[in-house]
């Protein structure tokens, strides 16, 4: 680790360096955490390592406090803001979920309208339950051959704003899980001209600010806030994240909003990982992502040459709702070989020892990073070839879409807190749903609280479960019954 001030400010890691000083000072601790630099829990220390445990500490004067940062955390956040080209940056320790929720809780109070595509992550729907905002869903459009939802078009957003002049904010996925970006620049311009706040779920776009040839990062596109999942493609520890905010945001109020649900014992392991990952992105990001991009393009080309699979990429740009595509991502459409994505996902792990990010009904998604090599990519390509050779089936009769347009009856909060009862899934068609049901990942609800359950939804959930998807979100752990509203 480089210590001391460097000429390039982004080389500095104020929080990580403060922790190094703390460790070197050999402070005797009569505070929490009770493991006391690991001495109180030798088994854990052996498992995670002494160095790791020695900086798992409580907030204290020399190490600042995330709920009210004034020294090293603040400096680290300022460096992060600079690196991402935003006015403010907030370290988050409860995942990008907490960042998405903070954006929505900041922008909306009970009854306020927010314009968003329905293919949002469950964290956005949950924020609506928390604050009582009312969603105005914009149809994201569907790619006919792949069956996946795309992004909102500026025209559709404009229509939604015209029909809902009282809307407070618009939320965009920049990008979707599959790497698809809408025309965020035009959407932001429109929204700002109409006085709306622009929020971006950029969970899968951390690297946009640092690589070349990637889609426009949300803050540069004109967003007021963006939730960037540093741990996904940025290299920090799982659960650490950053919320970026621009000049139209009141940072003091946003901090209060974050603290409503944020921990008062923020993990220094997570925060220092953000500090170090930010340094790496700022200093080495360009080189890193050019390598990742080349590897992804190589794998995409090889998979497409196998036949049967479609490793889609920039070729899907051009449909309405697809303005950009993140070429470091490697989604592969599998339905043409008669296998659901989730089936290929399971075979890759169980038979070939290869773990990919997710499989849904028609696709798998592989995520590449600087840790991967061409030899590893080759294993994925060869395994896919073998699966096609050995397991190919007739694709007729397969479920051919991932996205079902919602029929909204009530706002999510009202439905979630209404009188509910449990019904077997099979008998629930026609009722209003009281909870979210989703496959995880990707964690986009198939049905959300306040939406009507249709026969198609019931069939989708049944089919997804049969193919091996993990159905989550329901009160019932087995997800065989579903909470519906009393009539």
């Amino acid at each position: 680790m480089t210590m001391g001030k460097s000429a390039n400010r982004q080389e500095n890691m104020p929080l990580a360096e403060a922790l190094e000083r703390y460790r070197a000072d050999r402070v005797v601790s009569f505070d929490v955490p009770g493991h006391k630099q690991g001495r109180g829990n030798p088994r854990l220390t052996e498992f995670l390592g002494k160095r790791c445990l020695s900086v798992d500490v409580n907030s204290m004067k020399p190490l600042d406090n995330l709920t009210h940062p004034i020294s090293v955390i603040r400096e680290a956040e300022e460096l992060a803001a600079d690196a991402f080209g935003s006015k403010y940056a907030f370290f988050m320790v409860n995942g990008t979920t907490s960042a998405v929720q903070a954006m929505i809780l900041y922008a909306c109070r009970r009854g306020d309208k927010i314009i968003l595509p329905r293919n949002v992550h469950t964290s956005a729907i949950n924020a609506l339950i928390l604050c009582g905002a009312v969603p105005v869903y914009v149809d994201p459009g569907v790619d006919r051959s792949l069956g996946i939802a795309l992004g909102m078009t500026p025209e559709a957003v404009e229509r939604a704003i015209r029909e809902n002049p009282d809307a407070r904010a618009v939320l965009v996925n920049n990008p979707t899980y599959y790497g698809i970006c809408p025309d965020t620049v035009s959407i932001a311009k429109l929204a700002r001209a109409n006085g709306l706040l622009v929020l971006a779920d950029e969970a899968h776009g951390t690297h946009f600010s640092f690589g070349e040839g990637l889609p426009v990062p949300a803050m540069r596109a004109g967003a007021d806030m963006a939730a960037v999942s540093m741990h996904k493609t940025g290299g920090s520890l799982t659960q650490s994240s950053i919320l970026l905010a621009g000049e139209r945001v009141d940072p003091g109020y946003l901090r209060q909003i974050i603290n409503l649900t944020g921990t008062t014992s923020a993990s220094y392991l997570l925060m220092s990982s953000l500090d170090i990952a930010r340094r790496n992105l700022a200093v080495e990001g360009k080189e890193t992502f050019s390598k990742v991009l080349a590897l992804a393009e190589y794998a995409r080309g090889e998979i497409n040459r196998l036949g049967g699979y479609r490793a889609f990429g920039p070729d899907i740009a051009g449909s309405p709702g697809v303005f950009g595509f993140d070429r470091t991502r490697l989604p592969v459409f599998t339905r043409e070989i008669g296998l659901a994505g989730i089936e290929v996902y399971d075979m890759l792990r169980d038979d070939y020892g290869i773990q990919v990010e997710f499989g849904d009904l028609g696709n798998i998604l592989a995520i590449l990073s600087v840790g991967d090599s061409e030899l590893m990519a080759e294993r994925l390509v060869s395994a896919l070839q073998e699966i096609r050779r050995l397991k190919r089936r007739d694709p007729s009769g397969m479920f051919d879409h991932e996205y079902i347009p919602p029929q909204v009856v009530l706002p999510p909060q009202e439905a979630f807190y209404a009188k509910r009862r449990s019904l077997p899934l099979a008998d629930s068609a026609g009722r209003v749903c009281g909870e979210s049901v989703m496959s995880y990942p990707p964690g986009i609800p198939v049905v959300a609280p306040g939406e009507r359950i249709t026969g198609e939804i019931v069939e989708y959930i049944r089919y997804a479960r049969d193919r091996g998807c993990r159905i989550t979100g329901t009160v019932d752990p087995a997800a065989e019954s579903i909470q519906v509203l009393e009539e």
Binding site: G353, L375, E386
Partner: protein, 282 residues
């Protein structure tokens, strides 16, 4: 001055050879390549510090990886060697006049170059006109071939490092697909003795089993490999090495120092603890 080469066979077991001088040290994009000269073993090649071959005992490995499948089917015409950059396997293959073509897919051209310069004992036959040398990832090469080879020999490093992809189910499946109807796959199968190697052996064995109807394991005594007890995997689409008409091989009149028809049969007779490890599914 004393200069010793040391390999850690386990964190608690070391194997050392006194070195006279170092002939070559190269860092390739894949691994570190060293060639030393010693009194006891002659010249020897290490990759990432692990022993690959010595001039004194390489004949055992190379004879056993080649002559067992060649005796099981003397009609083999087309052969693919995956790895084998030192050339020893190719050298043994070129002794069969019936072989028409030997493709060799070695990922690291630097290994071939170093061995050509410093290990002519193994590399000398790489220039045989039947040899087609490809500097390429074996996994990538094999998956592009179909119904083309009578024999594939996997002469690889251990499954930690660039050789990792050659111990996977996707590789063995691709080999199956690249072999003809009478095809045979032989691979270096690690060792049954030290636990780290046993794990690799079991995993390789299980994965080959999933891909080929006939799977057998045979052994050889290789003094400079960890524990000295080394295994080879024999897999085929139907040919059973124990039903080989070994008189056909004897008629070829190939002179060998380790291999012979009696040993061919005996090599497949495994110790009980090895049999039970191979049966164990974990």
């Amino acid at each position: 001055m004393e200069l010793w080469y040391t390999e850690e066979h386990t964190p608690d077991v070391r194997f050392s050879i006194r070195v006279e001088r170092q002939l070559c040290s190269v860092q390739s994009p894949f691994q570190r390549i060293d060639i030393f000269e010693s009194k006891e073993f002659g010249r020897f090649l290490t990759l990432d510090g692990l022993m690959m071959l010595t001039e004194k005992d390489e004949f055992i490995y190379h004879e056993m990886i080649v002559h067992v499948p060649m005796a099981a089917n003397p009609d083999i015409r087309r052969v693919l060697v995956v790895g084998g950059g030192d050339g020893g396997t190719v050298r043994e293959l070129t002794r069969y006049p019936g072989i028409e073509r030997i493709d060799m897919a070695e990922i690291d051209g630097e290994v071939v170059r170093a061995c050509r310069e410093f290990l002519p004992q193994t590399a000398s036959r790489l220039d045989d006109p039947r040899v087609n040398l490809l500097i390429e990832d074996g996994l990538k090469y094999v998956r592009s071939r179909e119904n083309e080879y009578d024999l594939i020999l996997v002469d690889s490093t251990d499954p930690f490092g660039p050789g990792e992809g050659l111990f996977t189910r996707e590789f063995y499946g691709s080999c199956y697909n690249a072999l003809r109807e009478e095809g045979i796959l032989v691979n270096q199968h690690e060792s049954p003795y030290y636990p780290d190697y046993t794990r690799s052996m079991k995993r390789a064995h299980r994965r080959i089993n999933e891909c080929f109807p006939v799977c057998r394991v045979y052994q050889a005594h290789i003094p400079t490999y960890p524990s000295g007890h080394w295994l080879f995997g024999f897999a085929s689409k139907g040919i059973d090495p124990l039903e080989a008409q070994l008189y056909r091989w004897e008629r070829l009149g190939i002179e060998t120092r380790y291999y012979n028809p009696e040993l061919h049969r005996g090599a497949f007779a495994l110790p009980n603890y090895v049999i039970s490890e191979l049966k164990d599914d974990a």
